[in-house]
């Protein structure tokens, strides 16, 4: 029973990750792209917690906390870049940033 639930949780994590990845590839709004990255990180954390719960250990939850801190740092820098992006390119379309300039 326990291993079946672990499998289900891992399948859920894989589905969420795939949805986030599909959104990352298809959506062009920078804010939505950041949200999709959050979804993918969350799915990775779900896999950690599911594996930790399977063995009854706390390590999976500790790893999720590290993923959480990393997601917070990533979204802070990402949204700062989004504000800068909007100011310099007057849009939020990631395809507008197809040239590297200084």
């Amino acid at each position: 029973m326990a291993s079946v639930s672990l499998d289900h949780a891992l399948v859920l994590a894989a589905i969420l990750f795939a949805i986030g990845f599909a959104g990352l590839l298809t959506r062009r709004n920078l804010i939505v792209v950041l949200a999709c990255i959050e979804i993918m990180l969350n799915a990775g954390g779900l896999a950690f917690v599911a594996a930790g719960a399977r063995w009854g250990q706390a390590d999976g939850q500790v790893m999720f906390l590290f993923v959480l801190a990393m997601a917070a740092a990533e979204v802070a820098v990402g949204l700062a870049i989004a504000i800068r992006f909007r100011q310099s390119l007057k849009s939020l379309d990631v395809d507008d940033a197809d040239e590297m300039k200084g």
Binding site: L6, A35, E38, I39, A53, G56
Partner: protein
């Protein structure tokens, strides 16, 4: 508990699909909050209540607040209204109601976690500040670096066109560097440009 897990998983997948497919930015962020709530319920059914609480507090609270601030600062309301339209809350509201019913059901009945044992906050904290204490220090340094980096990136010059800005910056730098060489070391180039223009 298996049925709770299944319902929460379905809600998570549905709301995440809505995040990816909505064209309105505010709608997508609303559904993202629902998705994070659903994953928190999944954590609870897996026997990880501490992480479930942190998911709600940090992800659905703090990180979504950052997204909200970004949407407000970027003035996205010009093309997609920030004022939530009349029926936008119906979909997220129904999904959250399902999750709320699950949480009430799980808290009132003494249910067994899916994995058999529940790993509570005490075990997590002992692991966190025992063998993983170096990771905690590294995470704190990462957050500090992200704080400084976000401030540095977002606080540059406000609203010049990029090409004109770089030209102005080069000229302003040479002018202001000649007038007040002491300021050049402390202020960033963007601010120097603004002062050079004024």
């Amino acid at each position: 508990m298996t049925i709770l897990f299944t319902i929460a998983a379905v809600v998570a997948v549905l709301s995440t699909l809505m995040v990816v497919t909505r064209t309105n930015l505010v709608h997508a962020l609303l559904y993202l909050v629902v998705s994070l709530f659903a994953v928190a319920v999944v954590f609870y059914t897996l026997g990880a209540p501490f992480v479930a609480a942190l998911e709600v507090i940090v992800y659905a609270g703090a990180i979504m607040m950052l997204f909200l601030f970004a949407v407000m600062l970027l003035n996205v309301g010009a093309d997609s209204p920030l004022r939530v339209p009349r029926l936008a809350w119906v979909g997220p509201g129904i999904l959250v109601a399902v999750l709320l019913a699950e949480v009430v059901y799980g808290l009132t009945r003494q249910t067994q976690p899916l994995a058999g044992v529940e790993v509570g906050p005490q075990a997590v904290s002992e692991a966190l500040y025992g063998p993983y204490v170096l990771g905690v220090e590294l995470a704190s340094m990462l957050l500090l670096a992200a704080l400084i980096g976000a401030r540095h990136v977002a606080a540059r010059a406000r609203d010049e066109e990029e090409a004109a800005e770089s030209m102005e910056r080069a000229r302003g730098l040479s002018e202001t560097a000649g007038e007040a060489p002491g300021q050049g070391a402390v202020d960033d180039p963007g601010r120097l440009t603004e002062e050079g223009d004024a």
